[in-house]
Symmetry: C2
Subunit: 281 residues, 2 copies
DNA sequence: TGGTTAGTTTGGTAGGGCCATTGTTTGGAT
DNA sequence: ATCCAAACAATGGCCCTACCAAACTAACCA
C-alpha cells in the first residue's frame, strides 16, 4: 500500500518513487552522485509532476478523480498545503477541475485550447506585440487553411460556410447591429473554416490567436463602412471556396487583411475619439 | 497606507479594491447590494488576478519584486496560504520567479516562450495528435517563414545560415555523431531561420512547436541515412535562400518534410527495435 | 409521496510554528 | 587594513490544527 494511491475505489496508481524524491533524500543522494543538481525546496512540484505523469500516462482518465487532499496527504506523507499547491498547479495547467463538497475533489479533464490561448495571450500582451505582426501571421495561417479546406472539405460544409457568411452580411447590414454578436459570428466563421482544413492543429492555433486578440476583430466592426465591406468579403471568400477556386479565395483573404490594416490605421490616426464614444454608447 | 502595498521600498501599488473582495467583506456587502453574487471560494484567485493586473499594467516592472508573503498577508488581511497559492499561480504563468532566502521573494520577469510551449506541448500530448498533423502545420509555417526570410533578411544573415547548415552537415558526416547535438543544431537552424522572417510571432510558434515535439526531429537523426540526407537538405535550402530563389527553397522545404514522413514511417514499420537499442547505447 | 433537515465528505481559509536557504553584517585572526 | 568565518536577519518551504462553506446523501417527518 505504501507508495501507491487508492483512486476513488477504481484501482491503484503507483507513486512509489515519491519517497525517494523527498528533499532530504535528494540531499543525501547528492553526496554520492556528484554534480547532481539538488532539487531542493520543490517537494510540492515533485508531487505535481508525478500526478501529471499519472494523468498523461492515462493511469487516471478524464472523468475520474484524484483522491481527496487529505488522502493524498496521508499517502505522500506530507502536509496538506503541499498537496494543495500541487493540485492547484495541475488545475492551472488545465489538467484537472476542482469541485467542492462531497464527491468533490480534482477531476481529470481534457486540456482545453482555451488554456493554451490564455497562456499565449498573456505572453503576447506582455511582449507588446504589434498588431501588424499578429495580422501577418494570421493571414498566412488563413491562406493555408483556405487551400486545405478547398481540397479536403465536403461540399456540404462549404455551402454551410456560405450560409453562415450570408448570415453575417445580413446582420452587418442592419442599421444598429450588435457589434459583439458580429464579432462572435466572425470568430465562428474563422473556426468553421479552420475545421474544414481537417487538421486540428490549425483549428487550435486559430482559436488561440483569436482569443488573444479578439479586440482587433472587434474594432473591424465598429465602423459601419468596414463592417459591411468585411462581411461582403467573407461572403466572397466563401463563394470562391464553394467554387473550388483557390486563387480567387486567397485574393479574398488578402483583401480581408488589407481591410483590417486600413481600418486599424484609420482608427489610430484620428477617428478613434468618436469610435470610442460609440463603443460605450 | 491601507489598501496599498509597499513595493520593496520602490513605491506603492494600489490594491484598495482588494478589501472589498475579501470573503467576509463580500458577504457583508451582499446584505446591502442585493443579488450580488457572493464570489466565495476564490480569494486566492482574486488576489492572483489583482497582482497579475498590476504586473501587466506595469505598475511593477521586471526586475522588481512583490512584497514578501508575510507582508502581503498583512496587507490583504488573509492567511499566508492564500497568498502562497496566488503567487504560485503567477509563477506557473511565468510572470514571476520565486527566490528563497534574504532578498528573496517573487521577482517579476518577462514571460518566456517556453511557458507557452509547455502549455501547448501538454495540450498536444493529451490530445494524441498524429505526427502527420503536426508536420503539416509545421511545413506550412516553414514555407511562409522561408519566403519572408528571403524577402526581408540581410545577406549576412543568409550567409550565416548556410554556414550553420554546413556545420550541421559536417557533424552529420562523422562516423559516430552525437545525436543530441545534431538535434540541437537542427533546432537552432530552425529558430535562426524563423528569426530572419523579422516577425517574432513566427519565431515563437516555431519555438513552441519544436519544444513540444523535439522527439520527432530526434528520430530523424537516429538513422545514418536520413541523418545525412536531412543535413544535405538543410544546406540546399540555405543555399537557395542566399540565392533568393523562393521556388527552389520551398521545394527543399517540402523535401525535408517528405524525408521526415518517410523516416517515421520506416521506423514505425519495423526498424524501431535496433534504433531503440542504438539510442540507449 | 415529497420536501426538509441533519450528517458526511471535501475543498477553502486562518494562523501559528519550525526549518532551510541566502544575503548581510560583524568580529576576530592574521 | 584585509580576509575569512561565524552569527544574524529576512524569506520561502513545509507542517499542523482548527474551523468554515459547499455539496451530496440519507434519514426523517408531514
Amino acid at each position: 500500500m505504501l507508495g501507491s494511491v487508492v483512486l476513488a475505489g477504481k484501482g491503484y496508481v503507483d507513486f512509489s518513487s515519491v519517497k525517494g524524491s523527498t528533499i532530504k533524500e535528494t540531499i543525501y543522494m547528492s553526496t554520492q552522485k556528484m554534480f547532481t543538481p539538488v532539487q531542493i525546496g520543490r517537494a510540492g512540484e515533485d508531487i505535481a509532476l508525478q500526478l501529471e505523469a499519472a494523468i498523461l500516462e492515462e493511469k487516471i482518465v478524464p472523468g475520474e478523480r484524484l483522491p481527496s487532499e487529505r488522502e493524498l496527504q496521508a499517502q505522500f506523507q506530507c502536509g496538506r498545503g503541499v498537496i494543495r499547491e500541487a493540485i492547484r498547479a495541475l488545475r492551472q495547467k488545465g489538467l484537472v477541475e476542482i469541485r467542492k463538497g462531497a464527491k468533490g475533489g480534482a477531476y481529470i479533464k481534457q486540456v482545453e485550447v482555451a488554456t493554451v490561448s490564455e497562456s499565449l495571450a498573456l505572453f503576447l500582451k506582455q511582449q507588446h506585440i504589434g498588431t501588424d505582426h499578429i495580422a501577418e501571421f494570421r493571414e498566412s495561417i488563413d491562406r493555408v487553411i483556405t487551400v486545405l479546406a478547398i481540397a479536403r472539405a465536403g461540399m456540404a460544409e462549404k455551402k454551410d460556410l456560405v450560409k453562415e457568411a450570408e448570415k453575417l452580411l445580413k446582420m452587418a447590414g442592419q442599421s444598429q447591429p450588435d457589434k459583439e454578436t458580429l464579432s462572435r459570428l466572425d470568430r465562428k466563421l474563422n473556426i468553421q473554416l479552420a475545421k474544414m482544413s481537417k487538421n486540428p492543429v490549425f483549428e487550435w492555433v486559430m482559436d488561440a490567436i483569436q482569443h488573444g486578440f479578439s479586440s482587433n476583430d472587434y474594432a473591424l466592426y465598429e465602423d459601419s463602412e468596414y463592417r459591411l465591406k468585411t462581411a461582403e468579403n467573407w461572403c466572397e471568400t466563401a463563394r470562391h471556396i464553394v467554387e473550388n477556386d483557390p486563387t480567387r479565395a486567397l485574393n479574398s483573404i488578402s483583401a480581408h487583411y488589407t481591410l483590417l490594416q486600413r481600418c486599424v490605421a484609420a482608427r489610430a490616426s484620428g477617428v478613434a475619439g468618436s469610435a470610442e464614444e460609440e463603443a460605450f454608447g
